[in-house]
Symmetry: C2
Subunit: 96 residues, 2 copies
């Protein structure tokens, strides 16, 4: 398994309707892509980072991860929602 | 629960005896501190970060986390091993 994670901060105010809508749409769009397992959204709360949320998901293997990355629904979410609404982020992937 | 994580890079070469010894000592010292649950060490493999390992642990609540942070064994590991051997790191904590 590979755990794919991204920690990020939105341009929307904490607790706003825009924040809630972004998170709900991200969940709906990304969990519908084949191969995505154990998708979670969590708050990042350490004061040692100014990023505020994490998306996490698991893939069975690298080929499944690559297919997700290339999937049109993922690419559309990145270009139409992620790029304009996320002001900072960092990806990490963990081998399991 | 709170998941406390730190992603980091050692000054030791990948696959070296020094790397293995650091990871083994970190595991032994940190898992012996009261309140540390589900301690894991994983490799960070995304090319979008130059950090190479992650320590992760869970605490039942903030008071348990604070007690870990203040514990002499944690403080000694940070000053005697972490500071001289870790060249870059980033902490993240996630609410669960």
């Amino acid at each position: 398994m590979i755990q794919h994670t991204v920690v990020f901060r939105l341009r929307h105010p904490a607790g706003s309707a825009e924040e809630a809508e972004f998170l709900a749409t991200g969940h709906a769009v990304l969990t519908a892509i084949p191969g995505v397992e154990e998708f979670t959204i969590r708050r990042q709360v350490s004061a040692k980072s100014d990023l505020t949320h994490q998306f996490s998901m698991r893939f069975a293997d690298q080929a499944t991860y690559d297919a997700y990355d290339a999937h049109p629904a993922h690419r559309a979410f990145v270009s139409e929602r992620w790029a304009p609404e996320v002001v900072a982020f960092q990806e990490y992937d963990f081998e399991e």
